[in-house]
Every structure is written in C-alpha cells, then in structure tokens.
C-alpha cells in the first residue's frame, strides 16, 4: 500500500444512507457487520493492468506517455485503444499535460522493450488504435515489466501494481482499479460468509476516469466489456427470488448488472458491453444498494448515484461527506447508498456481537 494510505486503511470511514434517507457515519470496518442473511454482495474482481507506458514517438523523437484505455479485443494484449500525452508524467495534472507530437497512422512508438504502431487515429489528436508488434505472451511480458499503473496528480508518489490490485483482484483486464473494492478484505468476506451473506463477482474492464481533454471526457466512460460468470448470475437470481438484496460494490457492477438485465428482471450470465450512462432515468431492478467511493456532483460516478437517490438526498450526503472530512479519491473513504424507497437493508449487528 502506498505509504500515505497505509495509516488510513484501518481508519477508513463509511457514510451510510439507508432506504429511508437516514444518514450514519461509521468506521468502514463495520462493513463486516452490515447486511442480512440472504443478501448478496456483488463485486468487480478485475485486476488492473500497468497501463501507462513511457517511451518515444519515433517519427519525431519526442518523449510520450501512452495510456492504454480500451481493448481492441478483450484479453488480447497486442491491440488497444490508447491515449497519448507528451513529455511529463502523472505529477502534472492531466488537464495541464503537454499534447503529444502530431500523430499519424503508421507512426511507431518505442515503449521500453516494446514497439507499437498506430493503426489509425480515433477522431481526436491524442486517441489512437494501437497495435503492439510481437507475440501475445511477449507483449504481455513487456507490459508487465515496463508498464506502470495509470495515476493522477493527487497521489504524487509512484504507484505499483500492489497498490492498485484489490484483495479480490483476479484477471488483469481493467485500466484503472475498481476502487470501491478497496473496501473489501478477506476478514470482511469471511464474516459475511459466516452470517449467511453471499458474495459473488463479475469482471468488468474498468476504463479511465479522465483524459485531460474536456471534449474527450464527455465520451467517458468508454465502452467497457464485462463478463458475468454462470455462478454469479445464478446467485443473483436466486437471492432476488428469495427476497434477498443485491449490494453492488462499485459503479462498474451497477453498470454491468443493468446491462445484463433481461426483460423479466433476471440477470444473464455471459459477456457484454456495459451501458455507459446511468442516471436518474435508470430504473434499477436488480441492484438494491451501492457501496462506492465518495463522489462529488458533476462526476459521471455521481450521476450514476442519481439512480439510487433524489438530488436533495445526494446533496445532503455530499454535504455531510465534506463536513466529515471524507477523502474523495480512489484510495479514500466509502459510501453505502441504499435505493431510496426500498425496504431497510443495513442490519447492523454491532450491538449483538459487541
């Protein structure tokens, strides 16, 4: 864990808004005692790629940072959608980064041990379809050794994969961490299991949170592929039919589950592309609550929360988060928001076990 966060992990906080709109402020370790038998927690088990590659644009000789931001074909490490920046690194705010040199189809980048070529531009001077030269396993090895996690100016010290993989991280297909999952640990999962609370995962290729360009940012989130295992779809459908509640860990889980919902309200297993924009008009039929980071009005993540609660309630929770000194970045604190208008969800076993 990055040093600045090590001390905070134990002390992380959780702001809960229950189905009636009541707010509570608890230590995040309380998660282990929340929820009721029969409820099912669904998380995103994607591991994060070291998707930032530094190198040189060979035609101009200029330094570049290439950020892999989307799959050409899921799981194929030789084809990506990529974003190019000029000289500099994450310590400069993304919005202030130098533009890359002028890019054309056919241009090559030397990226550590790898060479990549621009297949074509994707409608913006810094967004390209990128192909790595070489065999899949050689390219994956090169990315594994040379790549660094994508990171932003609010964390100055360099991140390593162990900082950005959640405890449940499995397949490396995300470009940025499914950060709501930082709230989970094996102690909590064990406590839920003993109390009859289910746990299941899907894998969603989380994309990037910022391109540094206001026009491109409007396109975020990019199309994000997901896969829902048979066991997870079955667990969700069983929990729903038994009257249990579905708690989504992170916005990516909500997006995947809304995308995988059939006309009859059940979830289909398999692969798909997640619906980008979820907001006030979205009818949530599967997900009853979301555990997420602390988001602020205007972010696309915050927009998604409008599917769970009225704006007035979200304003209230935002105000309380600010007053309470909640940390908003991806390694920060958490919020649990129950769908407003549902029945109460958060059974808290604090007093019985304490």
């Amino acid at each position: 864990m990055i040093a600045a966060e090590r001390a905070h992990r134990e002390a992380a906080k959780l702001l809960i808004m229950d189905a009636q709109g009541h707010l509570r402020d608890v230590p995040r370790s309380r998660l282990a005692r929340l929820f009721n038998p029969g409820d099912l927690v669904v998380a995103n088990d994607a591991a994060t790629l070291p998707a930032s590659l530094s190198g040189t644009h060979l035609a101009s000789g200029e330094p570049v940072e290439i950020r892999l931001v989307g799959w050409g074909s899921v799981g194929d490490p030789t084809r990506f959608v990529a974003l190019a920046f000029g000289a500099g690194d994450h310590r400069t705010r993304t919005e202030d980064r130098v533009a890359p040199p002028s890019l054309s189809a056919g241009d090559r980048f030397s990226l550590g041990p790898l060479v990549a070529t621009i297949e074509r531009l994707l409608g913006h001077p810094r967004l390209v379809a990128l192909n790595f030269l070489g065999k899949r396993e050689t390219v994956l090895g090169g990315i594994a050794r040379h790549g660094r996690p994508i990171q932003y100016a609010h964390v100055a010290e360099p991140l390593f994969l162990w900082d950005v993989w959640t405890r449940i991280a499995a397949n490396p297909i995300a470009f940025e961490p499914p950060s709501a999952g930082f709230a989970l640990d094996w102690h909590t999962l064990g406590a839920w299991r003993r109390r009859g609370i289910g746990f299941a995962t899907l894998t969603h290729a989380v994309g990037i949170s910022s391109t540094g360009d206001p026009v491109l940012d409007l396109q975020l989130p990019f199309d994000e592929p997901y896969r829902i295992p048979d066991a997870t779809a079955a667990a969700i459908n069983q929990a729903k039919s038994d009257g249990g509640r579905i708690i989504a860990v992170g916005t990516t889980v909500v997006r995947a589950l809304v995308s995988a919902e059939g006309a009859d309200g059940t979830v289909r297993a398999g692969e798909g592309i997640a619906i980008g924009r979820i907001g006030r008009q979205t009818r949530l039929r599967v997900v009853d609550a979301i555990l997420t980071g602390v988001h602020q009005a205007g972010e696309s993540h915050f927009e998604l929360l409008r599917a769970f609660a009225e704006d007035a309630a979200l304003s209230e929770i935002s105000a309380l988060a600010v007053m309470g000194g909640y940390r908003t970045h991806e390694f920060g604190d958490s919020m649990l928001i129950e769908y407003q208008g549902g029945a109460p969800l958060a059974g808290d076993h604090q007093d019985r076990s304490g």
């Binding site: 088990d45 396993e137 090895g141 594994a144 993989w165 449940i168 397949n171 999962l189 997870t232």
Partner: protein, 240 residues
C-alpha cells in the same frame, strides 16, 4: 501410473519450471491438456521449455519482490485466470551446504526470500484469481513443495530446513484460513529426487538411490486430482 490422465482446461502455474521436479510437472501437465504457465529465472531455459512443452514461459525471480506482480499478471493474463498454483521454486541457501554457525546471513536470507517470502507474495498476489476460480468452479488449489528437512533436523540443512519448516507452517495456517472459500492448500514432500538441486546439496549421491522427478510429478498430479474432486474442471483419473 496415470500417464493418460486428462487435465483438459485446468489452468496451472508452476514456479521453478525449467529443471527437476518443476520441469517434470510442466511436461506432465502440458501433456495432460492443462493450460500451463511456468516461471524461471533464466531467459534461455524458459524459452527452451516453452518451446518444448507449449506452456507459457515467464522470466522472473520469485525471490525478488519487484518481480512478483509482473509474474502474477502474466500468469493470469496468459491463462485467463488460475485454478492451481504450484510453488516449487526453491533455494538451498549456502552451497555447498554449511553448518548454521558457518552460514552467511545472506544465504539464510536468500533461502527465506525464495522459499517463504516468495511463496507468500506470489500466492497473495494470485489469491484473488484462485478465489475467483473456487467461486465459479467449486475449488482451487495451492501446492507448496516441502521437504523432510522441514520436519527433521539434518545437520548442514539449516537454512533450507528452517525455510521449508516456515513454509510448511505457513501452508498449514493458510489452509485453515482459506478452506471456507474453497481455496485448498497442500504441503507435499516429493522425496529425495535426482534433480539439479539435490546434486548441489549432495554431490556424491548416486542417482540410482534417488527418486525420478517424473515419478514425484505423477504423485503430485494425483494429489491435485483428489484435492479437486469437487470441481467442474479438474484432472480425470488414469485410464487402466
């Protein structure tokens, strides 16, 4: 033995995969249809074994912290997940073997770095993938290669024995902690085998007194099959 055993589709990672027991496991599992990734330090040896077996070769040193996540990423990225992890790579410590009072601290550190910390780090990095396999298929497995030196106090085997003893206990505790999540842990002592590691430790041992690593590999695959009986995809029993 079960030379016809069928492990089709099972995703297995093996450290120390280019010599001795590790190489025998890579060959056997690849021949049985498993999807295999292996790790070793030497690029040319990795290349050779990958070419021979069709398994994914990964160059890295499990005793080096900075290599662990790059190794884990290549294992899960190449295999699309992980069902079985075999921590086989080992360091003897000082070679030739030395009495503890003659052992350099750095040699003990090296044995602990590879045999204990390396196993811990790699297993932890891959635990999410193993747990996902267990959730979706019913069970996942970690096999840590042990030794009778983990239990018996053989003079001259101090660094190795102490590290393997620590690994054995680490494995036993992890087994208790992870079994509820259906991630199973086994410590397996493959016996004294005719391998490069054994030759380093006991240069004058006659090969005919030692077990063939292929024989130990067959026993380990059988243990794997039994441990994964409740899984959807696993190894099928030998055909008579």
């Amino acid at each position: 033995m079960d030379s016809n055993s069928d492990c089709k589709g099972l995703r297995v990672a093996i450290t120390g995969g280019t010599s001795g027991l590790g190489l025998a496991l890579v060959r056997r599992l690849a021949a049985a249809g498993a999807r295999v990734a292996f790790v070793a330090r030497s690029g040319p040896s990795v290349e050779r074994t990958a070419h021979e077996t069709g398994a994914y070769g990964i160059v890295g040193d499990v005793g080096h912290k900075g290599d662990i996540y790059a190794i884990a990423l290549q294992i899960t990225g190449n295999l699309g997940g992980l069902d079985v992890l075999i921590n086989n790579a080992s360091s003897l410590g000082p070679t030739p073997l030395a009495l503890l009072a003659d052992t350099q601290c750095e040699d003990l550190e090296e044995a602990l770095a590879v045999n204990v910390l390396g196993v811990f780090r790699l297993t932890k990095a891959l635990f999410g993938a193993l747990a996902a396999s267990a959730r979706n298929e019913g069970a996942a497995l970690v096999i840590n290669i042990s030794s009778d030196a983990a239990v018996n106090a053989y003079p001259g085997w101090g660094a190795y024995g102490a590290s393997k003893s620590a690994l054995r206990h680490l494995t036993a505790i992890w087994a208790e902690e992870a079994k509820a999540a259906s991630v199973f842990f086994l410590s397996i002592d493959p016996g004294d085998m005719d391998t490069p590691l054994h030759a380093l430790a006991v240069p004058d041992a006659h090969p005919s007194t030692l077990k063939r690593p292929e024989h130990s590999a067959a026993e380990i695959v059988e243990a794997m099959r039994v441990a994964l009986l409740n899984r959807g995809t696993s190894c099928q029993a030998a055909r008579p």
